[in-house]
Protein backbone atom coordinates (compact mmCIF):
# COMPACT_ATOMS: atom_id res chain seq x y z
CA UNK A 1 0.00 0.00 0.00
CA UNK A 2 1.40 3.35 -0.98
CA UNK A 3 1.29 6.38 1.18
CA UNK A 4 -2.23 7.79 1.11
CA UNK A 5 -2.77 10.66 -1.22
CA UNK A 6 -3.92 13.78 0.50
CA UNK A 7 -7.43 14.72 -0.38
CA UNK A 8 -6.60 17.82 -2.39
CA UNK A 9 -7.92 16.30 -5.60
CA UNK A 10 -6.11 15.95 -8.88
CA UNK A 11 -5.61 19.61 -9.65
CA UNK A 12 -3.92 20.26 -6.30
CA UNK A 13 -0.63 19.04 -7.75
CA UNK A 14 -0.60 21.78 -10.36
CA UNK A 15 1.24 25.02 -9.66
CA UNK A 16 -0.14 27.73 -11.97
CA UNK A 17 2.40 29.60 -14.00
CA UNK A 18 3.28 30.95 -17.42
CA UNK A 19 6.99 30.13 -17.61
CA UNK A 20 8.67 28.31 -20.50
CA UNK A 21 8.23 24.93 -18.79
CA UNK A 22 4.51 25.54 -18.35
CA UNK A 23 4.10 26.56 -21.99
CA UNK A 24 5.87 23.52 -23.41
CA UNK A 25 3.58 20.98 -25.14
CA UNK A 26 2.48 18.29 -22.67
CA UNK A 27 3.52 15.31 -24.79
CA UNK A 28 7.02 16.72 -25.15
CA UNK A 29 7.25 17.07 -21.39
CA UNK A 30 6.14 13.45 -20.98
CA UNK A 31 8.81 12.32 -23.44
CA UNK A 32 11.41 14.44 -21.65
CA UNK A 33 10.59 13.07 -18.20
CA UNK A 34 10.49 9.51 -19.52
CA UNK A 35 13.85 10.02 -21.22
CA UNK A 36 15.32 11.48 -18.06
CA UNK A 37 14.02 8.53 -16.02
CA UNK A 38 15.54 6.10 -18.54
CA UNK A 39 18.94 7.77 -18.24
CA UNK A 40 18.71 7.68 -14.43
CA UNK A 41 17.72 4.00 -14.49
CA UNK A 42 20.59 3.19 -16.88
CA UNK A 43 23.20 4.55 -14.44
CA UNK A 44 25.10 1.55 -13.03
CA UNK A 45 24.62 1.32 -9.25
CA UNK A 46 27.96 -0.27 -8.49
CA UNK A 47 30.13 2.26 -10.36
CA UNK A 48 32.29 4.47 -8.15
CA UNK A 49 31.20 7.61 -10.00
CA UNK A 50 27.49 6.92 -9.60
CA UNK A 51 27.02 9.29 -6.61
CA UNK A 52 28.57 12.12 -8.64
CA UNK A 53 26.20 11.35 -11.51
CA UNK A 54 23.21 11.40 -9.14
CA UNK A 55 24.38 14.78 -7.91
CA UNK A 56 24.61 15.99 -11.52
CA UNK A 57 21.06 14.78 -12.26
CA UNK A 58 19.83 16.51 -9.12
CA UNK A 59 21.44 19.79 -10.20
CA UNK A 60 19.75 19.50 -13.62
CA UNK A 61 16.35 18.98 -11.98
CA UNK A 62 16.86 21.90 -9.62
CA UNK A 63 17.72 24.13 -12.58
CA UNK A 64 14.51 23.08 -14.34
CA UNK A 65 12.55 23.63 -11.11
CA UNK A 66 14.04 27.10 -10.82
CA UNK A 67 13.09 27.98 -14.42
CA UNK A 68 9.60 26.54 -13.88
CA UNK A 69 9.14 28.45 -10.64
CA UNK A 70 8.42 25.33 -8.57
CA UNK A 71 9.55 25.87 -5.01
CA UNK A 72 11.50 23.41 -2.85
CA UNK A 73 8.49 22.90 -0.56
CA UNK A 74 6.41 21.63 -3.46
CA UNK A 75 9.23 19.30 -4.55
CA UNK A 76 9.67 18.01 -1.00
CA UNK A 77 5.97 17.25 -0.62
CA UNK A 78 6.14 15.24 -3.84
CA UNK A 79 8.68 12.95 -2.20
CA UNK A 80 6.24 11.59 0.40
CA UNK A 81 5.04 8.94 -2.06
CA UNK A 82 8.43 7.31 -1.69
CA UNK A 83 8.13 6.35 1.97
CA UNK A 84 7.22 2.65 1.51
CA UNK A 85 10.24 2.15 -0.72
CA UNK A 86 12.55 3.79 1.76
CA UNK A 87 11.54 0.93 4.05
CA UNK A 88 12.30 -1.59 1.30
CA UNK A 89 15.72 -0.02 0.67
CA UNK A 90 16.45 -0.22 4.40
CA UNK A 91 15.51 -3.89 4.29
CA UNK A 92 18.00 -4.41 1.42
CA UNK A 93 20.80 -3.04 3.54
CA UNK A 94 20.25 -5.81 6.06
CA UNK A 95 19.53 -8.79 3.83
CA UNK A 96 22.10 -8.29 1.05
CA UNK A 97 24.91 -10.82 0.86
CA UNK A 98 28.61 -10.02 0.73
CA UNK A 99 31.08 -8.48 3.19
CA UNK A 100 29.51 -6.94 6.26
CA UNK A 101 30.37 -3.70 7.89
CA UNK A 102 29.34 -1.95 11.08
CA UNK A 103 27.15 1.13 10.99
CA UNK A 104 25.98 2.56 14.31
CA UNK A 105 26.65 -0.81 15.95
CA UNK A 106 24.52 -2.75 13.44
CA UNK A 107 25.93 -5.34 11.08
CA UNK A 108 24.97 -4.35 7.54
CA UNK A 109 26.02 -5.50 4.10
CA UNK A 110 28.45 -3.27 2.22
CA UNK A 111 26.98 -3.97 -1.21
CA UNK A 112 23.51 -3.65 0.27
CA UNK A 113 24.42 -0.21 1.53
CA UNK A 114 25.64 0.84 -1.93
CA UNK A 115 22.71 -0.71 -3.78
CA UNK A 116 20.06 0.44 -1.32
CA UNK A 117 21.45 3.95 -1.43
CA UNK A 118 21.67 3.87 -5.23
CA UNK A 119 18.10 2.65 -5.64
CA UNK A 120 16.87 5.29 -3.25
CA UNK A 121 18.77 7.99 -5.17
CA UNK A 122 17.33 6.81 -8.51
CA UNK A 123 13.80 6.62 -7.14
CA UNK A 124 14.13 10.08 -5.59
CA UNK A 125 15.40 11.62 -8.84
CA UNK A 126 12.59 10.10 -10.90
CA UNK A 127 9.97 11.15 -8.36
CA UNK A 128 11.34 14.68 -8.45
CA UNK A 129 11.19 14.73 -12.27
CA UNK A 130 7.62 13.44 -12.28
CA UNK A 131 6.69 15.97 -9.57
CA UNK A 132 8.00 18.73 -11.81
CA UNK A 133 5.91 17.37 -14.68
CA UNK A 134 2.75 17.32 -12.56
CA UNK A 135 3.46 20.74 -11.09
CA UNK A 136 3.81 22.38 -14.50
CA UNK A 137 1.10 20.50 -16.43
CA UNK A 138 -2.61 20.38 -15.76
CA UNK A 139 -4.13 16.87 -15.55
CA UNK A 140 -6.21 17.56 -18.66
CA UNK A 141 -3.12 18.68 -20.57
CA UNK A 142 -1.32 15.52 -19.47
CA UNK A 143 -4.22 13.57 -20.92
CA UNK A 144 -3.89 15.40 -24.24
CA UNK A 145 -0.19 14.57 -24.15
CA UNK A 146 -0.88 10.88 -23.60
CA UNK A 147 -3.37 10.99 -26.47
CA UNK A 148 -0.77 12.47 -28.79
CA UNK A 149 1.62 9.72 -27.72
CA UNK A 150 -0.87 7.25 -29.26
CA UNK A 151 -2.42 5.78 -26.14
CA UNK A 152 -5.40 3.63 -27.30
CA UNK A 153 -8.53 5.74 -27.84
CA UNK A 154 -10.70 3.78 -25.36
CA UNK A 155 -8.07 4.10 -22.65
CA UNK A 156 -7.86 7.84 -23.31
CA UNK A 157 -11.63 8.13 -22.91
CA UNK A 158 -11.64 6.12 -19.68
CA UNK A 159 -8.85 8.35 -18.39
CA UNK A 160 -10.78 11.43 -19.43
CA UNK A 161 -13.88 10.35 -17.50
CA UNK A 162 -11.77 9.42 -14.53
CA UNK A 163 -9.94 12.75 -14.45
CA UNK A 164 -13.17 14.70 -14.87
CA UNK A 165 -15.05 12.81 -12.18
CA UNK A 166 -12.27 12.02 -9.70
CA UNK A 167 -12.86 15.34 -7.96
CA UNK A 168 -16.66 14.83 -8.01
CA UNK A 169 -16.39 11.36 -6.46
CA UNK A 170 -13.68 12.59 -4.08
CA UNK A 171 -15.93 15.46 -3.06
CA UNK A 172 -18.72 13.04 -2.27
CA UNK A 173 -16.30 11.07 -0.11
CA UNK A 174 -15.30 14.26 1.68
CA UNK A 175 -18.92 15.24 2.35
CA UNK A 176 -19.60 11.79 3.80
CA UNK A 177 -16.59 12.18 6.07
CA UNK A 178 -17.75 15.59 7.24
CA UNK A 179 -21.21 14.14 7.92
CA UNK A 180 -19.73 11.22 9.88
CA UNK A 181 -17.41 13.36 11.93
CA UNK A 182 -20.02 15.97 12.73
CA UNK A 183 -22.00 13.13 14.31
CA UNK A 184 -19.08 12.31 16.58
CA UNK A 185 -17.59 9.43 14.59
CA UNK A 186 -13.89 8.81 15.00
CA UNK A 187 -12.21 5.81 13.39
CA UNK A 188 -10.25 4.24 16.20
CA UNK A 189 -10.19 0.49 15.65
CA UNK A 190 -11.35 -2.22 13.28
CA UNK A 191 -14.93 -1.87 14.48
CA UNK A 192 -15.08 1.33 12.44
CA UNK A 193 -15.33 -0.88 9.35
CA UNK A 194 -19.01 -1.29 10.15
CA UNK A 195 -19.39 2.41 9.40
CA UNK A 196 -16.69 2.92 6.77
CA UNK A 197 -17.57 -0.20 4.75
CA UNK A 198 -21.11 0.94 3.96
CA UNK A 199 -19.76 4.44 3.27
CA UNK A 200 -17.39 3.08 0.63
CA UNK A 201 -20.17 0.81 -0.64
CA UNK A 202 -22.56 3.67 -1.12
CA UNK A 203 -19.76 5.62 -2.77
CA UNK A 204 -19.49 2.80 -5.32
CA UNK A 205 -23.24 2.75 -5.91
CA UNK A 206 -23.32 6.51 -6.38
CA UNK A 207 -20.33 6.43 -8.74
CA UNK A 208 -21.82 3.60 -10.80
CA UNK A 209 -25.22 5.23 -11.05
CA UNK A 210 -23.58 8.52 -11.93
CA UNK A 211 -21.74 6.70 -14.71
CA UNK A 212 -25.05 5.42 -16.07
CA UNK A 213 -26.60 8.89 -15.94
CA UNK A 214 -23.56 10.44 -17.63
CA UNK A 215 -23.70 7.82 -20.34
CA UNK A 216 -27.39 8.40 -21.01
CA UNK A 217 -26.87 12.16 -21.04
CA UNK A 218 -24.07 11.75 -23.55
CA UNK A 219 -26.14 9.41 -25.73
CA UNK A 220 -28.89 12.00 -25.86
CA UNK A 221 -26.30 14.50 -27.09
CA UNK A 222 -25.18 12.25 -29.90
CA UNK A 223 -22.32 10.26 -28.36
CA UNK A 224 -21.31 7.42 -30.67
CA UNK A 225 -18.46 5.91 -28.72
CA UNK A 226 -15.74 8.26 -29.83
CA UNK A 227 -15.00 11.83 -28.97
CA UNK A 228 -14.18 14.43 -31.59
CA UNK A 229 -10.78 16.00 -31.14
CA UNK A 230 -9.61 19.19 -32.72
CA UNK A 231 -6.76 19.34 -35.21
CA UNK A 232 -3.37 18.80 -33.61
CA UNK A 233 -1.05 21.76 -33.72
CA UNK A 234 2.33 21.03 -35.29
CA UNK A 235 5.27 21.17 -32.90
CA UNK A 236 8.21 23.33 -33.82
CA UNK A 237 11.82 22.19 -33.66
CA UNK A 238 12.41 24.79 -30.95
CA UNK A 239 9.98 23.06 -28.58
CA UNK A 240 11.64 19.72 -29.25
CA UNK A 241 15.09 21.10 -28.45
CA UNK A 242 13.80 22.77 -25.27
CA UNK A 243 12.08 19.60 -24.11
CA UNK A 244 14.90 17.25 -25.00
CA UNK A 245 17.55 19.41 -23.34
CA UNK A 246 16.79 17.75 -19.96
CA UNK A 247 17.27 14.09 -21.01
CA UNK A 248 20.16 15.03 -23.30
CA UNK A 249 21.94 16.88 -20.50
CA UNK A 250 21.34 13.89 -18.23
CA UNK A 251 22.75 11.63 -20.95
CA UNK A 252 25.82 13.87 -21.14
CA UNK A 253 26.30 13.51 -17.37
CA UNK A 254 26.04 9.73 -17.71
CA UNK A 255 28.51 9.66 -20.62
CA UNK A 256 31.00 11.87 -18.80
CA UNK A 257 30.75 9.63 -15.77
CA UNK A 258 31.41 6.44 -17.70
CA UNK A 259 34.33 7.99 -19.63
CA UNK A 260 36.03 9.67 -16.67
CA UNK A 261 35.15 7.16 -13.98
Amino acid sequence: MGAGHDSGGLAARYVPGTGPVHRLEPHLKLVAVLGFALVVVATPVHAGWAPAAYLGFLVLLLVVARIAGVGPGRLGRGLTVEIPFVLFAVLLVFVSRGPRTEVLGLSVSQSGLAVGGGLLAKATLSVLAATLLAATTEPRALLRGLERLRLPQVLVQILMFMIRYADVVGGELRRMRVARESRGFRARHLGALRVLGPAAGSLFIRSYERGERVHLAMLSRGYTGRLPTGPVAPVGARSWTTALSLPLAAGAVLLTGSLVG
Binding site: G2, V95, L119, F204
Partner: protein, 237 residues
Amino acid sequence: MHVPDGFLDPTTSAATAAVAAAGVALALRGARRELDERTAPMAGLTAAFVFAVQMMNFPVAAGTSGHLIGGALTAILVGPWTAVLCMTVVLLVQAVVFADGGLTALGTNVTLMALVAVAVGYAVFRVLVVLLPRTRVGLLVAAGVGAFLSVPVAALAFVGLFSLGGVADVALGTVAATMGGVHLLIGLGEAAISVAVLSAVLTVRPDLVRGARHLQRDVVLAPRPPAAHPVPVADAS
Protein backbone atom coordinates in the same frame (compact mmCIF):
# COMPACT_ATOMS: atom_id res chain seq x y z
CA MET B 1 3.06 0.16 -2.79
CA HIS B 2 4.20 1.26 -6.20
CA VAL B 3 7.51 0.22 -7.73
CA PRO B 4 9.58 3.35 -8.44
CA ASP B 5 12.07 3.81 -11.26
CA GLY B 6 15.34 1.96 -11.05
CA PHE B 7 14.35 -0.97 -8.85
CA LEU B 8 14.41 -3.42 -11.73
CA ASP B 9 16.87 -3.53 -14.60
CA PRO B 10 15.77 -2.15 -18.01
CA THR B 11 15.28 -5.63 -19.54
CA THR B 12 12.84 -6.71 -16.84
CA SER B 13 11.05 -3.37 -16.99
CA ALA B 14 10.68 -3.69 -20.78
CA ALA B 15 9.45 -7.28 -20.46
CA THR B 16 6.82 -6.36 -17.85
CA ALA B 17 5.80 -3.40 -20.00
CA ALA B 18 5.16 -5.80 -22.90
CA VAL B 19 3.16 -8.11 -20.61
CA ALA B 20 1.18 -5.14 -19.31
CA ALA B 21 0.45 -3.85 -22.84
CA ALA B 22 -0.76 -7.29 -23.94
CA GLY B 23 -2.90 -7.65 -20.81
CA VAL B 24 -4.47 -4.22 -21.22
CA ALA B 25 -5.18 -4.90 -24.92
CA LEU B 26 -6.98 -8.12 -23.94
CA ALA B 27 -8.86 -6.26 -21.21
CA LEU B 28 -9.98 -3.58 -23.67
CA ARG B 29 -11.52 -6.32 -25.77
CA GLY B 30 -13.01 -8.16 -22.78
CA ALA B 31 -14.47 -5.02 -21.20
CA ARG B 32 -16.47 -4.39 -24.34
CA ARG B 33 -18.25 -7.68 -23.61
CA GLU B 34 -18.88 -6.66 -20.01
CA LEU B 35 -20.01 -3.10 -20.69
CA ASP B 36 -20.59 -2.87 -24.49
CA GLU B 37 -20.69 0.74 -25.64
CA ARG B 38 -20.86 2.00 -22.07
CA THR B 39 -17.19 1.01 -21.55
CA ALA B 40 -15.69 4.49 -21.35
CA PRO B 41 -18.11 6.24 -18.96
CA MET B 42 -18.67 3.24 -16.69
CA ALA B 43 -15.02 2.20 -16.46
CA GLY B 44 -14.04 5.84 -16.00
CA LEU B 45 -16.43 6.37 -13.11
CA THR B 46 -15.43 3.06 -11.52
CA ALA B 47 -11.79 4.14 -11.82
CA ALA B 48 -12.70 7.42 -10.12
CA PHE B 49 -14.30 5.34 -7.33
CA VAL B 50 -11.18 3.18 -6.94
CA PHE B 51 -9.06 6.31 -6.88
CA ALA B 52 -11.25 7.97 -4.25
CA VAL B 53 -11.55 4.91 -2.05
CA GLN B 54 -7.77 4.55 -2.03
CA MET B 55 -7.70 7.95 -0.31
CA MET B 56 -10.00 6.67 2.45
CA ASN B 57 -8.04 5.56 5.49
CA PHE B 58 -9.31 2.62 7.49
CA PRO B 59 -8.00 2.13 11.03
CA VAL B 60 -6.16 -1.19 11.37
CA ALA B 61 -4.68 -1.49 14.83
CA ALA B 62 -2.81 0.58 17.38
CA GLY B 63 -3.09 3.86 15.53
CA THR B 64 -1.97 2.55 12.15
CA SER B 65 -4.25 2.81 9.18
CA GLY B 66 -4.36 1.31 5.74
CA HIS B 67 -6.25 1.85 2.55
CA LEU B 68 -7.84 -0.40 0.02
CA ILE B 69 -5.94 -1.39 -3.12
CA GLY B 70 -9.13 -2.64 -4.61
CA GLY B 71 -8.13 -5.01 -7.41
CA ALA B 72 -10.13 -8.00 -6.19
CA LEU B 73 -13.07 -5.89 -4.97
CA THR B 74 -13.38 -4.07 -8.31
CA ALA B 75 -13.20 -7.36 -10.21
CA ILE B 76 -16.06 -8.79 -8.15
CA LEU B 77 -18.12 -5.60 -8.48
CA VAL B 78 -17.75 -4.83 -12.20
CA GLY B 79 -16.05 -7.86 -13.73
CA PRO B 80 -12.36 -8.71 -14.18
CA TRP B 81 -11.73 -7.02 -17.55
CA THR B 82 -13.18 -3.69 -16.50
CA ALA B 83 -11.28 -4.01 -13.23
CA VAL B 84 -8.00 -4.40 -15.13
CA LEU B 85 -8.77 -1.23 -17.07
CA CYS B 86 -9.75 0.70 -13.94
CA MET B 87 -6.64 -0.32 -12.05
CA THR B 88 -4.45 0.49 -15.08
CA VAL B 89 -5.96 3.95 -15.40
CA VAL B 90 -5.59 4.61 -11.67
CA LEU B 91 -1.94 3.54 -11.79
CA LEU B 92 -1.32 5.72 -14.85
CA VAL B 93 -2.82 8.77 -13.14
CA GLN B 94 -0.88 8.08 -9.96
CA ALA B 95 2.33 7.85 -12.00
CA VAL B 96 1.91 11.02 -14.07
CA VAL B 97 -0.03 13.23 -11.66
CA PHE B 98 1.22 12.06 -8.26
CA ALA B 99 4.69 10.74 -9.19
CA ASP B 100 3.65 7.58 -7.32
CA GLY B 101 5.34 4.73 -9.18
CA GLY B 102 7.97 5.45 -11.80
CA LEU B 103 7.21 6.09 -15.45
CA THR B 104 9.66 3.43 -16.59
CA ALA B 105 8.21 1.09 -13.93
CA LEU B 106 4.63 1.66 -15.08
CA GLY B 107 4.59 -1.67 -16.92
CA THR B 108 5.77 -3.45 -13.78
CA ASN B 109 3.15 -1.75 -11.63
CA VAL B 110 0.37 -2.53 -14.10
CA THR B 111 1.50 -6.15 -14.33
CA LEU B 112 1.59 -6.57 -10.55
CA MET B 113 -1.40 -4.56 -9.36
CA ALA B 114 -3.72 -4.58 -12.35
CA LEU B 115 -3.02 -7.99 -13.89
CA VAL B 116 -1.69 -10.29 -11.14
CA ALA B 117 -3.77 -8.92 -8.26
CA VAL B 118 -7.01 -8.85 -10.27
CA ALA B 119 -6.41 -12.26 -11.86
CA VAL B 120 -5.52 -13.97 -8.57
CA GLY B 121 -8.28 -12.29 -6.60
CA TYR B 122 -10.94 -13.04 -9.19
CA ALA B 123 -9.79 -16.61 -9.91
CA VAL B 124 -9.78 -17.53 -6.21
CA PHE B 125 -13.19 -15.89 -5.84
CA ARG B 126 -14.69 -17.84 -8.77
CA VAL B 127 -13.29 -21.18 -7.56
CA LEU B 128 -14.57 -20.62 -4.02
CA VAL B 129 -17.97 -19.46 -5.24
CA VAL B 130 -18.36 -22.82 -6.98
CA LEU B 131 -17.13 -24.76 -3.95
CA LEU B 132 -18.89 -22.90 -1.15
CA PRO B 133 -22.64 -22.93 -0.53
CA ARG B 134 -24.54 -20.58 -2.80
CA THR B 135 -25.42 -18.07 -0.12
CA ARG B 136 -24.54 -14.52 0.74
CA VAL B 137 -22.09 -15.69 3.42
CA GLY B 138 -20.42 -18.07 0.97
CA LEU B 139 -20.02 -15.24 -1.51
CA LEU B 140 -18.53 -12.91 1.08
CA VAL B 141 -16.09 -15.60 2.28
CA ALA B 142 -15.01 -16.23 -1.31
CA ALA B 143 -14.52 -12.49 -1.88
CA GLY B 144 -12.58 -12.12 1.37
CA VAL B 145 -10.21 -14.99 0.58
CA GLY B 146 -9.72 -13.70 -2.97
CA ALA B 147 -8.93 -10.18 -1.76
CA PHE B 148 -6.67 -11.56 0.97
CA LEU B 149 -4.61 -13.74 -1.38
CA SER B 150 -4.36 -11.12 -4.15
CA VAL B 151 -2.06 -8.93 -2.02
CA PRO B 152 0.67 -11.40 -0.91
CA VAL B 153 0.67 -13.08 -4.34
CA ALA B 154 1.28 -9.71 -6.03
CA ALA B 155 4.04 -9.02 -3.49
CA LEU B 156 5.63 -12.40 -4.18
CA ALA B 157 5.39 -11.70 -7.93
CA PHE B 158 7.35 -8.53 -7.24
CA VAL B 159 9.95 -10.55 -5.33
CA GLY B 160 10.15 -12.92 -8.31
CA LEU B 161 10.72 -10.00 -10.67
CA PHE B 162 13.27 -8.59 -8.26
CA SER B 163 15.19 -11.89 -8.30
CA LEU B 164 15.16 -11.84 -12.12
CA GLY B 165 15.94 -8.21 -12.72
CA GLY B 166 16.83 -6.70 -9.38
CA VAL B 167 20.14 -4.94 -9.11
CA ALA B 168 20.89 -6.06 -5.56
CA ASP B 169 22.48 -9.35 -4.54
CA VAL B 170 20.15 -10.40 -1.77
CA ALA B 171 19.22 -13.51 0.12
CA LEU B 172 16.03 -14.10 -1.81
CA GLY B 173 14.42 -16.20 0.89
CA THR B 174 14.69 -13.40 3.41
CA VAL B 175 13.20 -10.83 1.04
CA ALA B 176 10.39 -13.19 0.08
CA ALA B 177 9.66 -13.97 3.74
CA THR B 178 9.66 -10.31 4.77
CA MET B 179 7.63 -9.05 1.82
CA GLY B 180 5.25 -12.01 2.07
CA GLY B 181 4.84 -11.53 5.81
CA VAL B 182 4.17 -7.81 5.62
CA HIS B 183 1.74 -8.28 2.76
CA LEU B 184 -0.11 -11.08 4.54
CA LEU B 185 -1.00 -8.46 7.13
CA ILE B 186 -1.92 -5.91 4.46
CA GLY B 187 -3.96 -8.65 2.76
CA LEU B 188 -5.95 -9.18 5.96
CA GLY B 189 -6.84 -5.49 5.93
CA GLU B 190 -7.69 -5.66 2.23
CA ALA B 191 -9.97 -8.65 2.88
CA ALA B 192 -11.75 -6.95 5.78
CA ILE B 193 -12.38 -3.74 3.83
CA SER B 194 -13.43 -5.58 0.66
CA VAL B 195 -15.93 -7.74 2.56
CA ALA B 196 -17.34 -4.72 4.38
CA VAL B 197 -17.81 -2.77 1.14
CA LEU B 198 -19.18 -5.76 -0.74
CA SER B 199 -21.70 -6.66 1.94
CA ALA B 200 -22.91 -3.06 2.00
CA VAL B 201 -23.42 -3.04 -1.78
CA LEU B 202 -25.10 -6.46 -1.63
CA THR B 203 -27.58 -5.13 0.89
CA VAL B 204 -28.56 -2.05 -1.09
CA ARG B 205 -28.08 -2.88 -4.76
CA PRO B 206 -27.32 -6.62 -5.19
CA ASP B 207 -27.89 -6.24 -8.93
CA LEU B 208 -24.75 -4.08 -9.21
CA VAL B 209 -22.47 -6.86 -7.95
CA ARG B 210 -21.40 -8.74 -11.06
CA GLY B 211 -19.85 -11.57 -9.06
CA ALA B 212 -23.19 -12.20 -7.31
CA ARG B 213 -25.32 -12.72 -10.39
CA HIS B 214 -25.83 -16.40 -9.50
CA LEU B 215 -27.49 -15.37 -6.23
CA GLN B 216 -30.14 -13.31 -7.95
CA ARG B 217 -33.50 -14.88 -8.33
CA ASP B 218 -35.97 -13.88 -10.94
CA VAL B 219 -38.51 -11.52 -9.54
CA VAL B 220 -41.67 -13.46 -8.75
CA LEU B 221 -44.56 -11.33 -9.80
CA ALA B 222 -47.75 -11.60 -7.82
CA PRO B 223 -50.38 -13.45 -9.80
CA ARG B 224 -52.80 -11.22 -11.59
CA PRO B 225 -55.99 -10.91 -9.55
CA PRO B 226 -59.04 -12.40 -11.22
CA ALA B 227 -60.84 -9.87 -13.31
CA ALA B 228 -63.59 -8.19 -11.42
CA HIS B 229 -67.06 -9.09 -12.51
CA PRO B 230 -68.38 -6.48 -14.86
CA VAL B 231 -70.70 -4.29 -12.94
CA PRO B 232 -74.02 -4.07 -14.69
CA VAL B 233 -74.60 -0.47 -15.57
CA ALA B 234 -77.85 0.69 -14.17
CA ASP B 235 -80.09 2.16 -16.74
CA ALA B 236 -80.50 5.80 -15.87
CA SER B 237 -83.65 6.31 -17.70
